[in-house]
Symmetry: C2
Subunit: 289 residues, 2 copies
């Protein structure tokens, strides 16, 4: 008979997989089980620890709703989501970063130069840049979705005081690939830490803060869709993002301005900014499909 | 700023763990995250595959109830539960094996030689043996819990036609460490394969069968509690247990008997067995605490 031991059980699992299995499924499962088994062997995982791990997964399931996916959040704080982003990021484009749970479909159209700030409190920032291909050629017709928190660190779908699509927009870039809009400076915020993810964070002395950021999804025919976030260089949580979303190439500078001559042309709000205001230049590069 | 890359993210996770963290928690989490990250890097896990994995976990949570813990079952079919059993099994005792989901507290007392078969259909088996310490000395006062399926492959708590504690018993061994009882031969059965675990089994061409077995929990003061199962040598699924529970040292022989002189003394049912009947001798060794 087959002698299954702590050493041979990994091979036993692999031998169970039938020849007609999809090769990629086999490859991924074999790698997963080798690592799971090595983890148990290396740690000498006890029954109590094994039970605790399964209970944590069960509690993660119990707290998950259509509005709060604790499995995604668990993946985020373990660095898994970001790692999947990084291993799939093309070398010649802007890096991707976590989508997060706050994106919703149907954001209102925003013209190039449009005002997303509207009547939100906070300092005005003017964000502009270019969407181009890896050779620097502008991608005419690229589409951009933007979403962000208000000054209180909440997204519109977390905050009943905000209008449904507050601080969300959908823009088609100009023929020369330029995007441009006015908005309010987003704020750092915490990921929910009242569930199993919080248990993990607290057990390791970690905080639940994310640095402030602007979310972007950029799409154009013939190019890989880009889901990303851009972070200000002066954010206090830049070096300790709870979900590992920061990349060196995703850091922008808020340049403080006190002179209205720094206001670019073509803005819907014209010269009508609060002082001081901030300008941000950030270019995106889409990799080819 | 910190440059988090696909290579450095594992170190970033480890650096996030605060110094005052419990050393064992740190050790287990570091090992887990190293293996999770290596898994993503080695497979180049795509966003679709990552999403599919999280969805599988979510579905595992959705189907889990107090009566059906799909996370435990997932751990079982991945070989994780058995591996945890094996790395924690002492070398000088009988190996442990999976507890399974069908154990319930409160089984009725069964005297040494008692009849657990009662009016169940199926061939009579007479199971007997000794519980001893690693030096072969009988452990007087050791307590045994036994549970098993009926001939239809179902446990009493899966089958409304069976009485509440059918084929379950609690025995205190005799002064010379002997246990003995009559019962019916248990049957192979399938683990539930109508959920996420079934999805995994089907994707790899695996069947959901477990070889038939008798479950035992054996406890005695000063010794490590033993949770185990014993399998017949002639079971068709002995070499392909869906949950990897079989160990070489947990295999018993059903010896077919056609002569009543093979019936041991001291049985509650006396000579009153159906023919042919089967005898099983199986000894247990408890490791010291």
């Amino acid at each position: 008979m087959r002698t299954v031991t702590a050493e041979s059980i990994t091979k036993a699992f692999i031998d169970y997989i039938e020849p007609e299995t999809n090769p990629r499924t086999r490859f991924v499962l074999e790698s997963m089980v080798k690592h799971l088994h090595d983890f148990v062997r290396e740690t000498g995982l006890t029954h109590d620890e094994w039970r605790k791990g399964l209970e944590l997964l069960q509690k993660t399931g119990e707290i998950t709703t259509p509005e709060r996916n604790e499995f995604v959040l668990m993946s985020d704080v373990l660095g898994l989501s970001s790692l999947v982003d990084m291993v799939n990021s093309p070398d010649d484009g802007t890096p991707s970063s976590v989508l997060g749970p706050f994106h919703i479909l149907g954001a209102p159209d925003l013209a190039v130069g449009g005002d997303m700030k509207q009547n939100n409190d906070g300092a005005t920032i003017i964000v502009q840049g270019k969407v181009s291909d890896p050779d620097g050629k502008p991608i005419s017709g690229a589409e951009i979705e933007i979403w962000q928190t208000a000054e209180n660190g909440l997204y519109s779908n977390q905050d009943t005081k905000q209008e449904e699509y507050n601080l969300r927009g959908h823009m088609t870039v100009s023929d020369d690939g330029v995007y441009k809009f006015t908005t309010v400076r987003p704020a750092p915020y915490t990921v929910p830490d009242d569930g199993p993810v919080g248990e993990l964070l607290h057990a390791t002395g970690r905080h639940p803060w994310r640095p402030s950021h602007l979310h972007f999804i950029i799409t154009a025919p013939g190019f890989r869709s880009l889901v990303t976030e851009v972070f200000p260089s002066d954010d206090p949580y830049l070096d300790q993002d709870a979900v590992f979303g920061v990349r060196e190439k995703l850091v922008m500078e808020y340049v403080e301005q006190t002179d209205k001559s720094a206001i670019p042309t073509g803005l819907e709000i014209g010269q009508n900014v609060t002082m001081p205001f901030f300008t941000v230049d950030f270019d995106f590069i889409l990799a080819r499909q």
